[in-house]
Amino acid sequence: MIGKLKATVLRNRGFTGALVLFAVLFITYQSIHPRGFSTAVLVQNSNEVVALAFVAIAQTIPVLIGGLDLSVGAVMTLTNTIASHVVTGTPMQMLLGAVLTLGAGTMFGLMNGLIVVYGRIQPIIATLATGAIAIGLALILRPSPGGDIDGDLNWAATNAVFDFAETYGFADNGNAAWIQPFVNIPVPLIILLVVALGVWLPFKRTVTCRTIYAIGSAEGAAHLSGLPIARAKIAAFTLAGFFAACGGLYLAIQTSSGNADLTQAGTYTLNSIASVVLGGTSLMGGTGGPIGSMIGAFILRIISFFFRILSIDPLLQPLIEGLVLLVAVSLGALRTFRVKNKLGLFR
């Protein structure tokens, strides 16, 4: 049992490292926060991280095949503007709108995959172009910020389970006995974990997913082994589109509006790459996984949480954030000192 655990930890060194770093940062943060370990703080933290975590998960899958998807932030922005138009009306209409939003993002990802595979264009260039298209569409849909997403949905989805039950009046307005163990869990955290694990864990068992990892390790070998390369690449970008759309949909519900914010799209794409690296996924592809990137996104956010409790000069904050990030990423590179075979450095 312990042997098995040890083997798992060693096999996922990057992920374990990220998890430990996250735990240290998170516990320190909560300990010095005046209202640390309370539901309110946990709800706030979860709300802030969900969109970035989804975009980081989206980025991971193309990175696993050794590519980069520069359109994830733009797809998030595009789906955010779509959601601000369609997620309105009766609960049934809102649900339909959500499905439409996720579908649009998925189709956009599929288009990326088709361009990369059949257009034979480098992912980084193809997605740079399609990202610009996504922003263009978003600007057409929302030339100025706006939209009117249901206030109850906004309140319910950005709070703890208790407020969710209270808003929609089930489980005795959140006071029923059976719901008590869960009332303090933030809804955004549940959404994130259910979607991420619910999609990724089943997918991980498929040949397509194994092929994604194989392409990242050695595309030639994967091809010669008869693995479905084209299918795996298309699937990688399609899933990226889906997860980016999850981020966009949540962002729309969280802000009850849509905003075709060009700068924000760029910020999210860059932060998604940082989260992927922090989460222990190699930019060369082949190792790591989306759950690690989710932790990476948590780490990225927590660093800035500290500025709100500690007294640090506002104009020095970006510098300090950059330094901490550099140290965190460098920790992942420590293993290179222990590499016995220099060829291993090229992994």
């Binding site: 926060h33 706030q44 802030e48 802000t255 956010r301 506002p314």
Partner: protein, 375 residues
């Protein structure tokens, strides 16, 4: 009638749920109207329950990285230590979240959770703050957006009237053209960030005055993004394409605008612009040669007024929901070195920082001397 209705609604809201605290809508007039002027006659007034100071105040900035924002942050820090308010603030924090809505909303929520009394913010988006407004009201926190304000009347906000600013730009330039005896020609309008409400309002003001004038004006619009470099390029391009303009009406990037006119050998014409130190230097230097200009600024000192308004609200004073800060106007003939511009200070610096009716007396040089290392 309007106000009675508002009071009734507020009363109903109070009865509906005690959980929703927040401000009451009351009838005016508000406290210190020279400083906290209501936006229009229709503006509502708000009142929070008075409480004991000193207060904990936080500033949640979005984007950081241009001179205006840096000067704003420095002004906020300097004002927090100003004797007129220092005793009323026990804890003061400034964070910048970047252009990232969830991060800005998160920072505001975090300060609410930490028990801060007031939170001042420049919103990254005019929409999407419903949740934090609701939380602020529940926790009796005064949330004050300024500069980039929200499209809502549920919070107290501080800004300058951008539409009036646009009109004043045009009215001044038309006056100068009239004095020169020019009644037709091309006018170059230099706009700011597309899609931004400030750019939209200023442009509407600029264009409606020219449209209403009986002169024969052809408007040419370019986007300078309020940035000196971009403005210099687009103005130079416009001069190259169109030859000569009767006047240039810029709403930002004024240093670049003047530089482009000078470099292209275009004759000096009446201009309008923001309150950059370099622009005012140029106006005072070249006004005899024909560079007759008006300078109106969106002042970084707005942050100080927002802080003052927040503290005033916490003390239980009646406050307008939308506070209109007077436009700091200076024309070329009113400029005086060492008073409203400084020939020994850098160009890229916003001269307008003081608001005497509000006791905000932090001048340009004082801000430039502020030590960045202490917090």
């Amino acid at each position: 009638m309007y106000k009675t209705l508002a009071t009734l609604t507020a009363g109903a809201a109070l009865m509906a749920g005690a959980a929703f605290a927040g401000p009451n809508i009351v009838s005016g007039p508000g406290v210190n109207p020279e400083c906290f002027a209501p936006w229009t006659d229709e503006t509502n007034f708000m009142q929070w329950e008075a409480r004991e100071g000193p207060f904990r105040v936080a500033v949640v900035n979005g984007f950081v990285g241009n001179t205006w924002r840096i000067q704003m942050i420095k002004t906020a820090k300097a004002f927090a230590e100003d004797p007129s308010i220092a005793g009323k603030i026990s804890d003061f924090k400034v964070v910048s979240t970047g252009t990232d809505a969830p991060a800005q909303l998160g920072a505001i929520e975090d300060f609410i959770n930490q028990g801060y009394d007031a939170i001042i913010t420049i919103a990254v988006s005019p929409d999407g703050f419903d949740r934090v407004i609701r939380l602020a009201d529940r926790n009796d926190v005064v949330l004050v957006p300024f500069d980039n304000v929200l499209d809502t009347d549920k919070v107290m906000q501080v800004n300058e009237d951008q539409l009036a600013m646009g009109r004043m730009f045009s009215e001044f330039v038309l006056g100068e053209l009239d004095a020169k005896g020019v009644s037709s020609g091309k006018i170059l309008e230099v706009r700011g960030l597309p899609g931004n409400s400030v750019d939209r309002d200023r442009s509407i003001g600029i264009n409606e005055v020219f449209a209403a004038d009986d002169g024969d004006w052809e408007m040419v619009s370019v986007n300078g993004m309020w940035d000196d470099g971009t403005t210099q390029k687009v103005v130079a391009d416009a001069i190259a394409v169109h030859g000569e303009f009767a006047a240039v009406v810029a709403q930002g990037g004024s240093n670049g605008m003047v530089q482009a006119i000078q470099d292209s050998g275009h004759p000096w014409v009446p201009v309008s612009g923001e309150s950059e130190n370099g622009y005012r230097k140029a106006l005072s230097e070249h006004s005899d040669a024909g560079l007759k200009g008006i300078s109106i600024g969106q002042s970084p000192g707005l942050v100080a007024i927002a802080m003052k308004a927040a503290v005033s609200a916490l003390e239980g004073n009646v406050m307008p929901q939308l506070i209109s800060v007077p436009l700091p106007v200076a024309t070329y003939d009113e400029l005086e070195d060492g008073k409203n511009f400084w020939s020994d200070l850098p160009d890229n610096f916003f001269t307008v920082n003081e608001f005497p009716p509000c006791d905000v007396n932090i001048s340009g040089p004082a801000i430039m001397a502020e030590d960045e290392s202490d917090s």
